[in-house]
């Protein structure tokens, strides 16, 4: 399973690399599958509202009203109908890719079970929306779907009367049932919106809109497709005839041919079993959890940076419980914490410059305390030689770091690159432990912990607290976000970085400070 997942992950990252070249990581559609899903949802909602204005819900009028929308009002209604269909088809594609990608990237277990779990009902709801939509056209495809769907429901054996008997022939067809389908086609998408909202509740800074450029390109693509190949109805439904050869929407109806060959209850077993498997997947097997972040109140002033930076809303600010003169304290919600350490990287007290007291930050990871990080950094850099000594900090979800080790390269692996407080970069460079710092990890735009690369970039650029201080020469800091597939590129980038470092003049070490000045520096970091 692990081997298969690694291969699949490499395949996804390979595709990512191709799309990155065309779209850049910021617009890469494979990094925005979820937001594209939202985008397609809104397109179907807006186009659906327009269609509903002109749609007649009567059995005998539905087909005719759609013919009017498609053919007479082709420039507006026809385009809206095509957008409605193609956006809903595209929704299926991005939804399935999103599901597969999160599974392959192992982003569904542990505390992330909730997001996965709430995504499963969305599958059923999306298909219910699409299938009920096709029903409303009331052409031969709608007739086939109506009969096949109701026969499948009847196979459950829980309805007193056969639902499929409503479609026995033209005489038995009831307008009441058709009205019910219209209601379902409106109510289910609204309910779906609620579930979509729940789906992202445990994501901090959850993105629900794709980047503007990607959205414009995608909408443009759908518009071109709508004009080039307008969605049209097939022959009107006639219950006295049996639908024979039909144009088929394979995105929504892929299971229907199976309904024609397998018993209904077998299909229920397949659908129910598949759904149950998806629901249970986060625990098959469960993720082995590391110790969650812990708060040290003596060093926490309730500044809230850890709260702002946690990608999973696992840290909250609560009223102070000790006598410290601060209004709030950070509290870790254990069952939401992924132990990524991003909160530690955000904590201003997690600075290796602190020498006046034991290095215990306001929030820390028990399995890799910031004190250990400093000690390991010092031990790893102690034996380096040459004029291009580099400290590589990498995350455990990116390229292999071991091959990078060498006489002039030290390596440290972190759960997430954003666990590294910027002060560590300052520390190892300005204290002349190394000549440069090289940061690496997941592919840009594909951070395993969602926001680690973003936060790191913003901290280094001075856009997000805690900043990398201006005194750190930026030419001595490099980033390379390669993911798991581009090990060679990583090595080449590192060698190139070392080459640039070798050309730089030696680092001027700042004058030694008195203990009083050091305390002031710590206070500055704290602020």
């Amino acid at each position: 399973m692990t081997g298969l997942r690694t291969v699949a992950k490499a395949a996804f990252e390979g595709a990512d690399n191709v799309f990155n070249r065309a779209f850049t990581p910021a617009w890469n559609p494979l990094y925005h599958l979820g937001t594209l899903g939202w985008f397609f949802y809104w397109i179907t909602i807006v186009s659906g509202i327009y269609l509903y204005i002109f749609f007649d819900t009567g059995i005998n009028q539905a087909y005719a009203s759609l013919e009017y929308i498609t053919n007479v009002q082709w420039y507006a209604g026809g385009v809206m109908r095509s957008l409605h269909r193609y956006a809903s088809d595209a929704l299926i594609i991005v939804m399935m890719l999103h599901l597969t990608r999160e599974f392959v990237m192992d982003r569904y277990r542990g505390v992330r079970w909730f997001t996965w779990f709430t995504g499963v009902p969305l599958l059923w709801l999306v298909f219910a929306c699409g299938i009920s939509g096709y029903w409303m056209v009331w052409d031969v495809l709608a007739q086939y779907i109506a009969i096949a769907s109701t026969e499948w429901l009847d196979s459950l054996g829980i309805f007193g009367q056969s639902i499929a008997r409503n479609f026995l022939n033209n005489d038995t067809l009831s307008g009441r049932f058709f009205t019910l389908m219209v209601f379902i086609h409106i109510a289910v998408p609204l309910f779906m919106l609620l579930v979509m909202w729940i789906h992202i509740q445990r994501q901090r800074n959850a993105r629900v809109n794709p980047p503007a450029g990607l959205a414009i390109g995608t909408l443009g693509m759908l518009l071109v497709l709508s004009f080039a190949r307008p969605a049209v109805s097939q022959a009107p439904a006639n219950l006295d005839r049996v639908p024979s050869v039909m144009d088929f929407d394979w995105f929504y109806l892929v299971a229907y041919p199976l309904l024609d060959t397998l018993p209904g209850r077998t299909m229920w077993a397949i659908a129910g079993g598949g759904t149950l498997l998806l629901v249970l997947l986060p625990w098959l097997p469960p993720l082995r959890r590391r110790a969650t972040a812990s708060v040290d109140l003596d060093n926490c002033n309730g500044c809230g940076r850890c709260v702002d930076d946690c990608p999973f809303s696992a840290v909250s600010l609560e009223p102070r419980t000790d006598d410290a003169p601060f209004s709030h304290e950070a509290v870790v919600i254990d069952n939401l914490c992924t132990s990524c350490g991003i909160c530690v990287g955000a904590c201003p007290t997690a600075t290796p410059f602190r020498r006046t007291s034991e290095l215990v930050p306001g929030i820390d990871l028990p399995d890799l305390a910031i004190r250990e990080l400093r000690e390991q950094t010092l031990a790893a850099t102690a034996g380096l030689s040459g004029n291009a000594r580099v400290m590589v900090y990498g995350c455990g979800h990116g390229s292999r770091l071991d091959p990078l080790r060498g006489p002039d390269v030290a390596v440290m692996e972190l759960p997430c690159i954003a666990m590294l407080p910027p002060s560590f970069i300052d520390f190892v460079i300005t204290r002349n432990h190394v000549d440069g710092v090289f940061l690496t990890g997941c592919a840009a735009g594909n951070c395993h912990y969602r926001l680690g690369i973003d936060w790191t970039g913003q901290r280094l650029a001075g856009e997000r607290d805690p900043y990398l201080r201006k005194r750190v020469p930026r030419e001595r800091v490099a980033e390379c976000w390669t993911g798991i597939t581009r090990n060679r590129l990583l090595q080449e980038e590192l060698r190139a970085f070392q080459g640039r470092l070798g050309m730089l003049p030696p680092i001027k070490r700042p004058p030694r400070r008195s203990p009083g000045e050091q305390a002031g520096e710590a206070a500055e970091q704290h602020a």
Binding site: S244, V245, M246
Partner: protein, 167 residues
């Protein structure tokens, strides 16, 4: 500033996506029923006779019941399964026992079966037994029919209209 190659790459990606969406939204066509064939659909809902006849309780049995439940007749709810048979061109097409619905087995029996057949002339016989009789059928309807390609030929059962209806 995006390079020209990036624009070309994006165009190709959008075009491929549009091709996939546009094609699989309608193609390939699906054949549900061979265009030369027709469909005979048997569908009805009908309650069989009660499994047992009503029985008058003895005075002794009535005395054992609470006063408010002393109904003189005992009528078990359970119903008989229906026996249904379809014969097409002299050959048995379908024969089945249709159990009553409901947890207590006291509801109507339901039939819903589809039989794709070749279009053209056929002789069709439908039979149904809904009583406690051991042999034979209570209803029988025969007809010579000519099915056109893709015709949906429905066999319903309405005892109030005389039994089987060929629609």
């Amino acid at each position: 500033m995006p390079r020209v190659t990036q624009y070309i790459g994006q165009f190709v990606a959008y075009a491929l996506f549009a091709l996939v969406v546009g094609y699989f939204a309608t193609q390939p066509a699906y054949t549900h029923l061979d265009p030369d064939r027709a469909l005979i659909k048997l569908s009805f809902s009908h309650a069989g006779e009660h499994l047992q006849e009503c029985r008058r309780l003895t005075q002794e049995e009535l005395n054992q019941l609470p006063p408010n439940m002393r109904r003189p007749m005992d009528c078990p709810r359970e119903r008989l399964s229906l026996l249904v048979e379809l014969e097409l061109d002299g050959e048995l097409l379908y024969r089945d026992q249709l159990p009553p619905s409901g947890l207590a087995g006291d509801g109507a029996s339901t039939a819903y079966r589809k039989f794709p057949v070749t279009a053209g002339p056929h002789t069709l016989v439908a039979r149904l037994r809904d009583t406690r009789r051991k042999d034979g059928f209570d209803y029988e309807q025969a007809a010579s029919i000519t099915l056109t390609p893709q015709q949906n030929f429905v066999i319903d059962f309405r005892p109030e209209l005389g039994g089987f209806l060929f629609l």
